[in-house]
Amino acid sequence: MTESKAEQKPASEKKGKSKYDYSNGPPPLNINLAWCKACNICIALCPAQVFEPDRDGKPVLARGEDCNQCAICWVHCPDFAITSNYK
C-alpha cells in the first residue's frame, strides 16, 4: 500500500514534465502536414496535451516542451504523419 502510494505523483508532474531537454535540438516531433488529415486523434490522445489544432484542424506543437516521448501520438496516427526527432 505504502509503496504504491509513494509511486503516485501529482498528475501534472507525472504527465506534463518532459524527460528530455530540447534546448539544443529540433522540436520533439516532426509533423508531416501533407499527410496529416486532421483527424484529431493525436490532439485528443496526447496525455501531455502537447498539441493544439490549427485552422485546418491539424496539430501544431503548442507545448512541445511538455512532450515526454510517450509514443501515443505516433502509434495512433493513422497517416504516419508524426515522427519523433529524438527516439
Binding site: 499527410w35 483527424c39 486523434i41 502509434v75 496516427c77 497517416d79 504516419f80 527516439k87
Partner: protein, 286 residues
C-alpha cells in the same frame, strides 16, 4: 528465441520505422478517411514485423477487397490484393508453394467472415502457418456501410435501416472452434498490445488470428451515433478488458465488453510441415 525475447533483443525502434516500409513510388497519404483505424493497424503491423527482423522479401502480404484490404498496396512487401473474400486461398497457395515465406493476410470483417467465411474456417482447420489480421469495424466500409457478420444485433447500417435482425459472429470463438492454434484480440486504441499480438501471431507456427477492433466512424460510427474517430477510440479504451480480468468477470459484466489479449493458443502440428513429411517419405521411397 521466444517472441518476448525477440522484442527485447531488437534494437530500440525508431518512431519513423514505418517510413522504411512504405512502398516507394506509391502516392501518400493513403486513401482512408481521416482518422480511420486502418492506418493505426498498418503501423502496428510494420512495427511488429520490424521487431521480428523479418526480411521484406520473405514477407508476402495478401488481402481481399475492402478498405482494410488496401493495406498491402502501401507496404513494401510481396503484395497480393486479391478478390473479395479470397485472400486466404491465395495465401494458402503462396505458403504451400513456398513454405519458408511469412504470409500475412489482411482482411475485413466482411471479407473474412461474410463472403470469405469458408476459407476462413478452412485455413483455421488446416492450421496452415498464415497470420490473419482481421480488421473488424463491424461494417462494410468500402461499399458504404452495409451490415456485416459482426454488425451487432439491432445496430444500424445502410442495409439494416430498422436495426439488424441477425445475430453476429465472434470471430475469435469461430476461429478456435475451426482449429486455429493462436487467437488474439486487440483494438486500435491498444496499439502496443496490438503490436505485441501481431508479433506473437507471426512468430507462431500454425494458423494465427489477430482480430483488431477498428473504427469506421464514417459509416458504423455515424449510423450508430458513436461520434468521431476519437470518441470511438476512447470507447474502445473503456469497453476493453484483458483476458486476465475477464476471467474474473461474470457473463453479464462481460456483455458489450471487448476481451483483449491472447484468447487461445496451442501447439498442434502445422499443415505444411505435415505435408513435407509425406513428400520426404515419398521422395525417399523412390
Amino acid at each position: 528465441m521466444t517472441t518476448a525475447e525477440k522484442t527485447k533483443a531488437a534494437p530500440r525502434q525508431r518512431s519513423d520505422v514505418i517510413l522504411n516500409y512504405l512502398r516507394p513510388k506509391k502516392k501518400f497519404p493513403n486513401v482512408w478517411c481521416a482518422g480511420c483505424g486502418n492506418g493505426i493497424v498498418m503501423s502496428a503491423i510494420v512495427r511488429a514485423i520490424d521487431k521480428l527482423a523479418l526480411s521484406k522479401d520473405e514477407v508476402a502480404m495478401v488481402s481481399g477487397i475492402g478498405c482494410s484490404s488496401r493495406m498491402p498496396i502501401y507496404l513494401d512487401f510481396n503484395a497480393l490484393h486479391t478478390t473479395h473474400g479470397r485472400a486466404l486461398p491465395f495465401a494458402t497457395g503462396i505458403k504451400f508453394a513456398q513454405p519458408h515465406m511469412k504470409v500475412i493476410v489482411i482482411t475485413g470483417d466482411g471479407d473474412a467472415l461474410a463472403i470469405g467465411g469458408n476459407h476462413f474456417i478452412h485455413a483455421c482447420r488446416r492450421n496452415i502457418d498464415i497470420t490473419a489480421i482481421l480488421v473488424n469495424n463491424y461494417i462494410y466500409g468500402m461499399t458504404g456501410g452495409q451490415g456485416s457478420p459482426t454488425t451487432p444485433t439491432a445496430a444500424f447500417s445502410t442495409t439494416t435501416p430498422y436495426g439488424n435482425a441477425e445475430k453476429h459472429f465472434d470471430p475469435c470463438k469461430l476461429a478456435e472452434a475451426a482449429g486455429a492454434s493462436y487467437v488474439a484480440r486487440a483494438t486500435v486504441y491498444h496499439a502496443p498490445q496490438l503490436e505485441k499480438a501481431i508479433m506473437q501471431a507471426v512468430d507462431h507456427r500454425g494458423f494465427s488470428l489477430v482480430e483488431v477492433i477498428s473504427n469506421c466512424h464514417t459509416y458504423f460510427g455515424r449510423l450508430n451515433r458513436l461520434g468521431d474517430a476519437v470518441s470511438m477510440l476512447k470507447e474502445y479504451k473503456e469497453k476493453s478488458v484483458t483476458v486476465a480480468r475477464a476471467k474474473r468477470m461474470s457473463p453479464e459484466e462481460l456483455k458489450d465488453k471487448h476481451v483483449i489479449g491472447t484468447l487461445y493458443e496451442d501447439d498442434k502440428t502445422e499443415f505444411c510441415d505435415e505435408y513435407q513429411k509425406i513428400v520426404d517419405a515419398q521422395m525417399g521411397e523412390k
